[in-house]
């Protein structure tokens, strides 16, 4: 456990010793804030129009603003994952520091978990900054805290799944650019799968929608925590970490 934390701390530090940490946080928070403002103004415009025509019921801020924002958050993060994971193991291989890790009294699993934790912590920071949006919304009316927290849980799990697979791809090559491009391409594909699944109700469509990593987010965003989705994400994360571990082990056998 001590090794896991040491490795996580070191990699988290390297995120901020190189520009990558600042870059992903700035891009993520910048784009998300833009989207949040856009959604908020849209909401204000509509609610004004609604009141002019004498609408009675108060409009739901949580679902009208936070739902699209959280949905977009997943997509924006998809574009940033490759930047966060590409160097994690590829660079250790290239700099031969993996040799140091594998000849120290450290288990490969500790290396995998440490690396994963460092990326997860950076992602958590990025998410934590966006918690300011629901706080802002509280000015305009009451928010559905449970629904928003469920949405955040979903985005967190989705992000963790992305990161665990990105980590695996980084273990496959010693070139970070290759790892980054591969990760980016793969996740773009995961995203596009859901477009196809939406248009067909056949068994194939259902299957695609089950595979599609983003489709599992929609329940969370609506405030529904379904065991099926939880199991999906947790197995996805575990599988990614397992593959990373296997590829580290196999590196020694080659």
């Amino acid at each position: 456990m001590r090794n896991v934390l040491a490795i996580a701390r070191k990699d988290l530090k390297i995120y901020f010793l190189t520009p990558i940490g600042y870059l992903v946080i700035t891009v993520f928070v910048g784009i998300m804030s833009w989207m949040f403002c856009a959604a908020l103004f849209e909401f204000l415009k509509r609610s004004q129009a609604y009141m002019q025509f004498g609408g009675m019921a108060e409009m739901n801020v949580s679902s009208m603003v936070m739902q699209p924002v959280l949905g977009n958050m997943a997509v924006i993060f998809l574009f940033l994952v490759s930047l966060m994971t590409m160097r994690l193991l590829a660079e250790e291989r290239k700099m031969r520091t993996l040799e140091l890790l594998l000849t120290s009294p450290v288990y490969p699993l500790e290396i995998v978990l440490g690396k994963f934790l460092s990326a997860l912590l950076l992602f958590s920071v990025m998410l934590a900054v966006t918690l300011i949006y629901p706080l802002v919304l509280m000015i305009f009316g009451s928010i559905d805290v449970k629904q928003i927290l469920a949405g955040y849980l979903g985005v967190f799990l989705l992000g963790a799944s992305f990161l665990s697979f990105g980590l695996f791809i980084s273990a496959l090559t010693e070139n970070q650019i290759t790892a980054g491009a591969l990760t980016f391409g793969l996740f773009l594909f995961f995203w596009i799968i859901s477009w196809l699944s939406g248009s067909s109700a056949s068994v194939g469509g259902q299957l695609l929608s089950y595979i599609s990593i983003i489709d599992h987010l929609s329940n969370f965003i609506r405030g529904l925590i379904d065991t099926k989705d939880l199991v999906y994400y947790i197995s996805f994360i575990t599988f990614g970490l397992f593959l990373t571990h296997q590829s580290l082990e196999s590196y020694r056998w080659r």
Binding site: R2, N3, A6, I7, K10, K13, I14, L17, T18, M95, R96, T97, L98, E99, L100, L101, L102, T103, S104, P105, V106, Y107, R252, W253, R254
Partner: protein
């Protein structure tokens, strides 16, 4: 301390090391000598638990490197051919990170780092980024990394490669200081290095051990013929006369110096005795006569080309 028995490593279609066995005693510095691609790095990677052998066993301090990899890793320090450094970190951050990985308890970490900084003379650069250091300093940081947990066994893969002569001398003296307290196994393809630093030499070629012995023993073994250098004032006709001496195999004239000859003869004092008599009796004017020592260079060339 180190016991290697019938170790073999087979890559897809190359046998990197082939059935090698040797032992290293506690406190000894042993040099692993061989041309590039002889299997030095492979052997070291197996010893450090980085990769498993195809067959055979290796033990460090009584622990099998494969069965008890964890225990072995706690007891060894390893400096790979390319020192495993993070250029973004400062020397101090890096060493403290490695100290944690090497399972040094938290309260002893600071002490361990400052001890190794002093030992490898890194005091002046400990706050600087590793990426900004010269190659010689980086190599010292690599050595410090291998030493931080005060391991019983040190495995150093080509510790002086790519350094300038001054840096080489510094690293060598650092390594020599380690003898006694640590068991050191180091690899190199530079001959003078082993004679300077190591008591015993393991010569390896194409995956096989060619010889394990001390330098003196090795050169004695190899003296199948003696070489005698001769300098004469009157060399006229000397070549023919010297050739007729029984026991002389061949006589070569040294074109660089006037009147100098190199005589190869059987290992026998009487032959040299006879040479001197012939020279004096014929009034050739003996200026100099000496037995040429066999350098390890010759040993190495011989061992790796002959057998």
């Amino acid at each position: 301390m180190i016991r290697v028995k019938n170790l073999t490593k087979q890559y897809e279609n190359v046998r990197a090391i082939d059935n090698i066995s040797f032992e290293v005693d506690r406190g000894e510095i042993v040099g692993f000598l061989g041309p590039n691609g002889a299997g030095k790095t492979t052997t070291m990677r197996i010893l450090t638990g980085f990769m498993p052998a195809t067959s055979g066993t290796a033990e460090i301090g009584g622990y099998d490197v494969f069965e008890n990899a964890y225990e072995v890793k706690k007891r060894i320090g390893y400096l790979p051919e390319v020192p495993p450094l993070y250029p973004e970190m400062t020397v101090q951050e890096y060493l403290s990170y490695v100290a944690t990985l090497k399972a040094i308890p938290k309260d002893q970490k600071l002490q361990a780092v400052s001890r190794v900084v002093e030992r490898c003379r890194l005091g002046d650069v400990q706050k600087r980024l590793i990426g900004h250091l010269s190659k010689g300093y980086q190599q010292r940081v690599g050595l410090a990394q291998a030493l931080v947990h005060d391991p019983k066994v040190l495995v150093l893969d080509e510790p002086t490669i790519g350094l300038d002569p001054k840096q080489i001398i510094e690293i060598r003296s650092l390594i020599k200081e380690l003898a006694g307290g640590h068991t050191v196994i180091l690899s190199t393809h530079i001959l003078p290095e082993v004679t300077q630093m190591c008591r015993r030499i393991v010569i390896i070629n194409e995956g096989k051990i060619v010889a394990v012995d001390t330098y003196d023993q090795l050169s004695a073994q190899l003296r199948k013929t003696d070489k005698v250098e001769l300098q004469l004032r009157n060399p006229q006709g000397a070549l023919e006369k010297l050739k007729t001496i029984p026991g002389v195999i061949q006589v070569l004239r040294d074109d660089q110096r006037q009147g100098a000859f190199l005589i190869e003869c059987h290992v026998d004092d009487h032959v040299r005795d006879e040479i001197s008599r012939v020279v004096v009796q014929n009034n050739m004017g003996l200026l100099e006569m000496r037995l040429k020592e066999v350098s390890l260079e010759d040993v190495f060339l011989k061992l790796t080309t002959e057998e």
